[in-house]
Amino acid sequence: MADVLVCKDGEIAEGGVRVIQAGEVEIGVIRHDGKYYAYRNHCPHQGGPVCEGIRMPGVLDIIGEGGIFLQQDFDQKDIHIVCPWHSYEFHLEDGVNVCDKRIRLQKFKVVEKDGAVYINV
């Protein structure tokens, strides 16, 4: 296990992504709402660069009384990482696929210290 320097705090803009090459492994470090998340940049579907797509809130169907469909809405509390190749979606918080819990992204621990951001690889 080694701490790999990603950046000085603030170097990745809010909403931005830095893809780093740590030996053989490509890791996407995502900054969202001031927090950092690090995942292997490899999608379990067909191997796409999963961290290089967009982040989007999950979508909810709003169903009213009696099962009546009212509308859809974004769930701002549940941001998804969207793979750019075919749009498989993963929860930003834990990297678990939104359709099948058995599919997940490889997560790396992020450490913030002394004004810099590191990941534990």
Binding site: L5, V19, G47, E52, P84, W85, S87
Partner: protein
């Protein structure tokens, strides 16, 4: 503390090679340079070239209309498939970004962009199809279908196929006009890169109409195959209009029109009337084939008197036809997929297709990584079967040739 290489996406240039860097890694790891890969269904966005294509419209009045009004959305093709939001609200990023991609001036942009994604995936030869024109057959103006089909085919031959040996095509047939369909084959068979002809499946003409028989005979005589390319009709189809989600209309539509035409093809004995005409069914995935085989065999045993031309079960004829692989149904169904491969004689009848750059594209690894296929079967499906089906001269990509040379000298 380690130091690392990095790139910040916010400042990265839009470039197909970067977007597909992981596909390139797969190509290197699996040594795709060791064998030919043919993609029997790749696409381009011909709408980026409308200005050039419209110049090829022979009728000067229609040409002026097209240049003034454009193609769909109020343009001269009027009603086409009706809507669609394939890029999922921006979730699939490659298509909106491609407009910003820089290409050299001395090569047609379609050739450069197509070769970039082919090289990244390890593909040597692609059979190229249009995008919006896949539903041109739904226009209420048959003369517009004919004019645009001729313009597109001429443009493609002149600007793309004649200039690049790794790109071939099966040209568009304007089925709403049987005479124009026949003339299309007469006029374009033999042009460089023309390896067959395409029926775009969403249309409302019956494939058994006697008016098409001379076209089938001509194709058979010319040893050129016929390809049915799936697509959807939304606004103009009363059944599919009941779908309110693109996922629904796409899942059904792309399979439905090929199910319909395959059924009519068999129930009218066309494989017996044109036994040497090679036929392929493209972009409907594979799961529909076992369904239809079982259903038609069951009915035929009871109603063979209705279709006396068929000498064997419908599934026997279906096993002799060809299929493209994408979008291959691969979620949680390895056994079903393996059985499907057996039922369609995949080792000799299945042809890999990417459908790139569309949203549900498949990489060659979707075939190469299947654990139940032998190495020769993989190579057949990834290239050998297509080479046989289209009578292709193998052309190896420059990149793969370089990799082979580097391996030989090391």
């Amino acid at each position: 503390m380690d130091t690392v290489n990095f790139r910040d996406l916010s400042v990265a240039e839009t470039d197909t090679k970067t977007m597909l860097a992981h596909a390139d890694q797969q190509s290197v790891q699996r040594r795709y340079e060791d064998f030919l890969i043919v993609d029997v269904d790749g696409h381009h966005y011909e709408n980026m070239s409308y200005a050039e294509i419209f110049e090829y419209i022979e009728d000067p009045v229609m040409r002026q209309q097209a240049k003034y009004q454009g193609y769909g959305g109020g343009g001269i093709a009027s009603a086409t498939s009706g809507g669609g939001y394939q890029n999922l609200g921006g979730r699939v990023t490659r298509n909106p970004r491609v407009n910003a991609e820089v290409t050299p001036k001395d090569t047609h942009r379609d050739i450069t962009l197509t070769k970039r994604w082919m090289d990244a995936m390890g593909i040597d030869i692609v059979c190229l199809f249009p995008t919006p024109m896949l539903t041109l057959s739904l226009t209420p103006r048959p003369e517009v279908e004919v004019a645009l089909a001729r313009a597109y085919n001429s443009w493609l031959c002149d600007k793309v196929l004649s200039a690049e040996s790794r790109i071939c095509s099966t040209l568009y047939l304007p089925l709403n006009d049987p005479e124009a369909t026949y003339k299309m084959v007469k006029d374009f068979a033999g042009r460089k890169g023309v390896v067959g002809f395409t029926v775009v499946s969403p249309h409302y003409k019956a494939v058994y109409d006697n008016a098409y028989m001379k076209t089938y005979a001509l194709l058979e005589e010319a040893n050129l195959p016929l390809v049915f390319h799936g697509a959807y009709a939304w606004g103009g189809d009363q059944s599919l209009q009941l779908c309110n989600k693109f996922m629904a209309v796409h899942a059904l539509g792309f399979a439905w029109f090929n199910i319909l035409h395959m059924t009519n093809w068999l129930c009218n004995g066309l494989p017996e009337r044109f036994p040497k005409l090679r036929v392929a069914w493209v972009e409907s995935g594979l799961a529909w084939v076992p369904f239809l085989m079982q259903r038609l065999d069951n009915e035929w045993m009871m109603r063979s008197s209705e279709v006396p031309l068929l000498k064997r079960k419908p599934s026997d004829y279906m096993r002799e036809m060809f299929y493209s692989s994408q979008p291959m149904e691969m979620v949680n169904n390895r056994e079903a997929l393996e059985l499907t491969f057996k039922m369609i004689n995949a080792e000799t009848q299945l042809m890999y297709s990417s459908d790139y750059p569309h949203w549900d594209m498949d990489l060659p690894s979707t075939i190469y990584d299947l654990p139940f296929l032998s190495e020769p079967a993989k190579r057949n499906i990834l290239g050998g079967n297509a080479r046989r089906f289209f009578n292709l001269e193998p052309v190896v990509s420059e990149l793969k040739a370089k990799r082979l040379a580097a391996r030989a000298s090391s």
